[in-house]
Amino acid sequence: MNPNLPNSFRTGPDERGHFGIFGGRFVAETLMPLILDLEKAYADAKADPAFQAEMNGYLKHYVGRPSPLYLAERLTEHLGGAKIYFKREELNHTGSHKVNNVLGQIMVARRMGKKRIIAETGAGQHGVATATLCARFGLECVVYMGAVDVERQQPNVIRMEMLGARVVPVQSGSRTLKDAMNDALRDWVTNVHNTFYCIGTVAGPHPYPMMVRDFQSIIGDETRQQMQEAEGRLPDSLIACIGGGSNAMGLFHPFLDDPSVEIFGVEAAGHGLTQLHAASIAGGRPGVLHGNRTYLLMDDDGQIQDAHSISAGLDYPGIGPEHSWLHETGRVTYLSATDDEALEAFQLLSRLEGIIPALEPAHAIAKVMELAPKRPKDHLMVLNLSGRGDKDVPQVGDILKGKKS
C-alpha cells in the first residue's frame, strides 16, 4: 500500500487548489485578481440554496435531466461478459455532457455581472453548449476553435453561429484545442474587466478544475441512484474517455471512496503510443501549462508537443490535474485507445444499439470491448456515453469511404 494514500479521495483540492502536487494557479498577474473573485463567487453560489434550486430547475426543464441509465442488451450479449449500462449524456440538450458545466458557469457569471462570455472548444461540443446558454441568457459569446477543428467539425461551427456566437478560428501552433485555449487566455487577459472565461474541462487554474468537476458530478450522483434502482447495488466498474477529463471526473468523483468500484479512464492513443497521440498520462510527465501542474506531452526542453487524435475533443496534450493525482495514487486506472479502435467501436455501437456515439466516447467503448468479455456476467459496468456522433458523421463517412477505396 502507498503510505501517502489519503483517507478520502473526495476532499481535494486544498485551499490553494492543489491535488497532491498537481493543480495550482499558474496564471499571469492580470488574471489573478479575477480568479480570486471567481473563487469567492463560486463559494458563495455553492452555499446559496437559491442558486442550487435555480440550477436544478434548468437542469430538469432545459437540459432534460436526469439522463437515462440504459442497459445495452445487445452489446452485452455481443461481448458475452459484464452487464453493460450506458449513462446517456448524449441525450442532454446540445448533445453532450458539456452543458452541465456550462449552465453552472453561466449562472456564476450572471451572479458576477459579466456580460461577455468566452470559451475554447475542440470538438465544438463545449462551444455549442456555451453558445446555447449565452443565447438563452442574452450574453455575448466568443468561441475560440483551432482552425484544424473548424475544418473537421463543421456541423458544430454552423450550430454555434446559428446560436449567435462568434467563432474565431485559431491559426497558431497546431491549430487545435491547446492553441484555442492559448487564444482564449489572451482574450481574457485583454478583456478581463467584462469577460468571463467559461472553461470546458476540469483543467486550468484553481478554482476551475474543482468547479467544473462539481458541476459534472451530477453524472455520477444520478448513476449511483439509478443503479440502485435498477440493480439494488453499486456498479462494479466505471469507464469514460478523457481529453481534459470532465465527463470522466463527473462520473468518477461520487464513487472515488467506494473501493469495490473499479474505475477506468481512456485516453486517446491516436496512431499509437509510440507515434503521434494525445495520451498525456501514458506518454507524458508532470509540467505546467494553462494555469495548472499536470501530466503533459512535452520534449526534454519542456516545450509542449502537439497531440494527435482522430477526435477533436481529445486532441489535447494535457489532462485535468485531479486525474494526474488519481493516477499517481492509483485510484483510477488510465488506459488508451487508438484512432482505429475508436472507429471500430463507433461502427459497432451504431449497428448494435442504434446509437451513433461521438468519437470521444467511442474510445471508451473500444476499451469496454476489451474489458467486458473478461468480466463475469453479474459484473455491472457503466460507460459514460458523453456525446452523440452527429457532429462526426461527415468526418467518419469520409474516412470509411477512404478505407474502402
Binding site: 490553494r16 499558474f26 492559448n182 526542453d301
Partner: protein, 278 residues
C-alpha cells in the same frame, strides 16, 4: 546583496535619468545572430536587457513574440543554449544587467535548483516569469531570492491597492508595470494614466518601476520615461528583426543593424525625457 540590476538603477538615479530596457528573444532568428544582437544592445543604448526564453505556448504574448519564440525553437534553441548565450555575452560585458523572461515549464523541466545554479554562474541577474503569481512563490521566487537572483514581478492595471503588497512582498530588482490589460504588442498605453499607476505603486515600494507593453516609438518611450524609472520595448524590436529576415525567415546582413538602429533611436527618446520619476 547587490546585483547588477541594483547597481545599474543606482547609477541611473545618480545621472538623473530613466532606464531603457530592451527585450529580445533568445535564439531569434538563430543562436549565432541572436548573440550578435545581444552584444550590440548596450552600445546602442540599452541599459537593461530582457532575454526571452522561447516557449511553445506563450499565453501572455501577442503574435510578434509568439512568432519570435517559434523561430528560435525551430532554429534549435533550448533553455540550456539560452544560458550558453548569456555566458557568451558576459565574456565582454560584466555590467549590463540581464533578465531572463518567459514561462515556468521549461525551468520546471530543467530542474529549479539546477537552473538557479546554472543561471547565476552564467551571469543572469534576474527572472521575470509570467505565469508565477505570488500565490506560487514557493515554486521559484523564494528559491531564486536565496540563490541571489532578483525575482521581478509584474504589476498590472488589475493589481489593486489591496493586492499590491502581496505582489511586491518578494519582488526585487525592479517592478515591471504592465501598462495595459492585454498581451504584448497590442494596445498602447496612455502616459498620463501610466504616471498615476506608477505613483500608486511607488507609494508601496522603494524599488524602481519600469513600464512596458505597447511602447513602439521614441516619443512614446520618452513619455513613459518621464513617468517611470524605465521604459521597456520588446515587440517593436522583434518586429524590426522580423522585417530584416529573408523570405525563408533567415537572418540577413541587415538583421543585427535593424535591431541596433531602432534601439539607438528609442534610447534617444528615453534619454530625452525631462526628469525620471522619483
Amino acid at each position: 546583496m547587490t546585483t547588477r540590476i541594483d547597481a545599474r538603477f543606482a547609477e541611473l538615479a545618480r545621472q538623473g535619468r530613466s532606464a531603457f530596457v530592451t527585450f529580445v528573444m533568445a535564439g531569434d532568428p538563430d543562436p549565432a545572430t541572436s548573440l550578435d544582437i545581444l552584444k550590440a544592445l548596450p552600445k546602442a543604448g540599452a541599459d537593461v536587457i530582457e532575454i526571452g526564453m522561447p516557449f511553445t505556448d506563450p499565453m501572455a504574448d501577442g503574435p510578434s513574440i509568439q512568432a519570435a519564440g517559434l523561430r528560435a525553437l525551430k532554429a534549435g534553441m533550448t533553455l540550456k543554449k539560452t544560458l550558453e548565450m548569456v555566458r557568451g555575452f558576459r565574456k565582454d560585458d560584466d555590467s549590463t544587467p540581464l533578465v531572463l523572461m518567459g514561462y515556468y515549464n521549461p525551468i520546471y523541466i530543467y530542474g529549479v535548483d539546477k537552473f538557479l545554479v546554472d543561471a547565476k554562474t552564467s551571469g543572469v541577474d534576474g527572472l521575470i516569469i509570467v505565469d508565477l503569481p505570488p500565490e506560487e512563490d514557493n515554486e521559484l521566487c523564494l528559491p531564486a531570492m536565496k540563490a541571489g537572483l532578483n525575482f521581478i514581478r509584474l504589476a498590472t492595471p488589475t493589481t489593486d491597492d489591496k493586492r499590491l503588497p502581496a505582489v511586491l512582498a518578494n519582488t526585487s530588482g525592479f517592478v515591471y508595470y504592465v501598462s495595459i490589460t492585454g498581451i504584448t504588442g497590442s494596445a498602447s498605453a496612455d502616459s498620463t494614466v501610466v504616471g498615476e499607476a506608477v505613483a500608486r505603486i511607488k507609494r508601496h515600494t522603494k524599488l524602481p518601476v519600469c513600464v512596458g507593453f505597447g511602447i513602439r516609438t521614441p516619443d512614446a518611450a520618452r513619455a513613459i520615461a518621464e513617468n517611470a524609472n524605465g521604459a521597456v520595448v520588446g515587440t517593436a524590436l522583434v518586429d524590426a528583426l522580423n522585417a530584416s529576415l529573408d523570405a525563408g525567415g533567415r537572418a540577413t546582413p541587415k538583421t543585427v543593424g535593424a535591431v541596433a538602429d531602432l534601439v539607438a533611436e528609442l534610447a534617444q527618446g528615453v534619454r530625452g525625457a525631462k526628469q525620471a520619476a522619483e
